[in-house]
Each structure stands twice: as C-alpha cells, then as structure tokens.
Amino acid sequence: MTKDADPFADSALLARFAGLTRPELEALQLAKLRRQMTRLQASSPYYAERMAKAGLTADAITSLELFAERFPTSSKADFLADQQAHPPFGARLGIAREQVALVNMTGGTSGQGQEIYGRSQRDVHQLGYLHALPWVMAGLRAGDVAVNCVPAGGMTTGGWGPGEGLRIIGATAFHVGGGLSTDAKIDLMLTLGGVNFIYASTNYLHTLTEALLGRGITPRDAFPDMHGLFIAAEGYPLEWAAKIEEHWGCRLQEGYGSTQCNGFAGSTGSAGVFGKDGARGLISLFEWETLFEVVDPDTLQPTLSGEVGELVATNLSVEGSPVIRFRTGDAARYVAWQDAGTGKVWKTIEAGSIGRFDDMMKIRGNNVWPTAIDAAVFAHDEVGDYAGRVYTEAGKTEIEVRLAFADHCAGLSADERDRVIGSVREAIKARTNVWMAVVECARADLPEFAYKARRWKDERQQGYRL
C-alpha cells in the first residue's frame, strides 16, 4: 500500500460509478427510489400515510424533481413523535420486527430525544460497506493496520459501522476508542510495528496529536507507514489541517456521514481536505446510495452552488428505518458537480465546514456557529482545547472562551501567552463579528471528548429566571 493509491484504478466497480454520466446516475437513483417507495408503500404505515397525503403512489414518482416537489419532508421531531406513538421503532420501520438485526440510536446531543433505527441483516452489511467505501477511496487496503479511535459498540451507528467496515475491507483493526486513555492508546500504537490508518473524530485526532507532541513524539517519525488520517463529525480550520498533515506526514481525509445515512454518505477520497490553491477541498456524495437535496432551511427551495444549505437525505438502499426526504439539520456549502472539478458527476459539499443549523447561537444580533469559533481558535497551534459559555449578567449577554495551552507549549512566557490570547480574540471577532472574553485555564479544567465535542453552553435562559 502506498500513500498515493488510486481508488478508481484499484476498483473497477468504483470506476464504473465514477464514470457515470449525470443522466445515467439520475436514472439509477430514480429506479432505486421507485423500488424503495413501492416497498415502503406496502410495509411502512408512516411513509404510506405521507404518500397518501401528498396524493402520490410509488408508480407516480416519474422524476426526481416531482419527488422533491411533492413528497413531504420528515424531521427529527416527526420521527420522535412516530416512535412515541408506535414504540420502539415507529411506524416508519418498513421491515418485520423480527427482521431487525441491529438497533442504533442517535447520540442525543441535541437534547430533543434519540431517534431509534432498526436495521436488517442486509442493512448491517450495507453499514459496513458505507464505511469501507470511503476508506478504500482513502487508500485503506486489506492487511493494513488501522486504529479506530471512535468508541466501539453500544447504541450508535458510529459504534458499529467502523468495525463492520474494517472487517469487510480485511484491515487489521485495533478498536482503541473509549476503552483506553489517550496515553494508553499511544503506548499501544507504538508497539504495533507500524500503523497505516487512523479513524477519529476531528476533535479526537487533535487530542491525540497534541498528546503525542506533548510527549516529545513527532507522529511522522513514530509512524512512518501512516498513509491515511480519516476524520468526521466536526469542522476545522485549514491552518489546523495543514499542521496535522505536517505533523503526521500524510494526507488528511474527511467523510460526511450519519445514523440517518447508515454510515458515510460522502468523502474527500484520496484528494484529501485541500482543494485547488490550498482552499477547502470537497466531499463527493455517494449519490447512488443516498439521494441528497441541499435546500434553504426556510423555503426548502434548492440552494445555489456555492451557498450554504440544509442537507435533505433519502436512503435508496436501506431496508430498516429508512429516511425519506429527512431534514438533517446539517448545514453545508453546496458545490454542484459542474463547478466541483472532480472529474465526476457526483454532487459535492465543502469539506471542513459542515455545521448544524440548530447549533447556531444568536449573540448580540449575530448568527454565530460553534464551527466558526473552532476555526478561529484552532488556527492557533498553541491552543490545546477550549470551552465556551454564553450567559447573561446584569441583563447583558456575555461570552467567555476559556482556553488551555497545548502541552507542547508549556514553556511559553506570560507575554507570549497574552499575545496568543489577543490573537484568538481578534480571530473570533473576525469570523463572528462578536467580541468575546478569552481567558486561560488549565487543560484539566476542560472536558475531554472521545467522539463529538460539545464545547459550548448557552446559559442565557438561566439568567432570565426570577
């Protein structure tokens, strides 16, 4: 395995998907969509009712445009209400109860409740495939040593998909997430006689890198056989990505996925997270498995290429608990295939900047996304991690960012620390239009996240209590 494996040369099947014309791809999508809707019309009272309300039948879906115009969207709230009325899976399940082979739940980080998904045996293979697919595209091959830093097992899709994916690739997988401390993971990795691939959340790859540097270990020297770092789940600044690639001596790659998509729905592939002229790269969507629309969240009208919109997903192959026109709440910059320059006709979204519409905080009249603040803070190599808090004091909105310096910057002087803090403050203002108080704290005072980081707390409601 080399660092520059060409997935399209190594897989004739993948090359065929890459070689489709846009009309061929859309014909495939429509055929799969009609098959899915025919099945759900008979097997899912939830979707049958939505079809009936729209005056649609599966046979009447004669184009993707008609489907997008007529079929109603579903949201998390719809699924939660369905589950409450028909526990545990809701009437949307779409397969016989005894055919459920794996149960997955969403993470619950939204605070609204957890969606429950019942997957069939076929879906479980698909779950593995939808992890193997982006990793093969990233250069992972049979026999490679892969370290999976995402906590394995449990109820989440992210707990099961990586194991299935690495198994069907034939990689030698070490599932170190959750069970081992960061130091213990490093100790283990150093004994493996070579590591080729790491899968981690953005936040955890940062933690792991910082811990290695803090121990005086240069990742590229300690792991010279590394050819892929694959991240997901969180945005990041390009400055950070460049430093990660420099520290590790290999390409950083990213995937977009979710429980609703039964795994990954797109990836940067071997091109990595940098595009032309050092700009952000693109995530190519696996549109033959998941039909994507990118829409204005207020009007549900299609987003123009280059603009940020909400991803709306439809599973074309999933049997158990499929999502059909599901509003993900994920905010992504859409780049049409004609503008992407990838050589393929797959729709793309910008890498590194995917956020959540529901994470947005309205602060002093400005729309502020945590990803924007992450980008400002982590553009500074000296910062280990941070946590933010929005609160009210004497009727005024205040924002506090507490940051801890990285272990490898322990020797910075007070003046140097002040300079970094000032620079972080300026960078946050530049990206959000909001001045925030930035203060230093000890690293131990900040929470550590093994998977998705939740760095922000909005305590303003508490401030209004009488």
Binding site: P7, S11, L14, Y129, A132, R141, A142, I168, G170
Partner: protein
C-alpha cells in the same frame, strides 16, 4: 423434494471462492467475508468425522 443443505453450501462456497479471485479493492474483502460466512456454516453443520 428435500434440499441437501450441505450440497447447496458446498456449491455456494465454490462460487464464492471464484468471486474472491477479484482484483477489485472495494469488493475483495466483501467477497472474502461472504466466503468465510458460508465456510463457517459448512463447518458448524459438520456432525461426522467423514469429510
């Protein structure tokens, strides 16, 4: 007519082994996974010393 499960599985194993000869990096591991599943079913059905 009864189905000879062992004969079916042996035939499936032979077919799966043919698939495993693929050079397709995306499919090879999946075919080997399939072959191993069939092989495991053959093994767990084995009740006599005769092959």
């Amino acid at each position: 007519m009864t189905i000879d499960d062992d004969a079916v599985l042996r035939a499936m194993l032979a077919q799966a082994e043919r698939l495993c000869a693929t050079g397709d990096a995306l499919l090879k591991g999946q075919y080997e996974h399939l072959r191993a599943r069939i092989d495991a079913l053959i093994e767990l059905r084995r009740v006599s010393a005769a092959a």
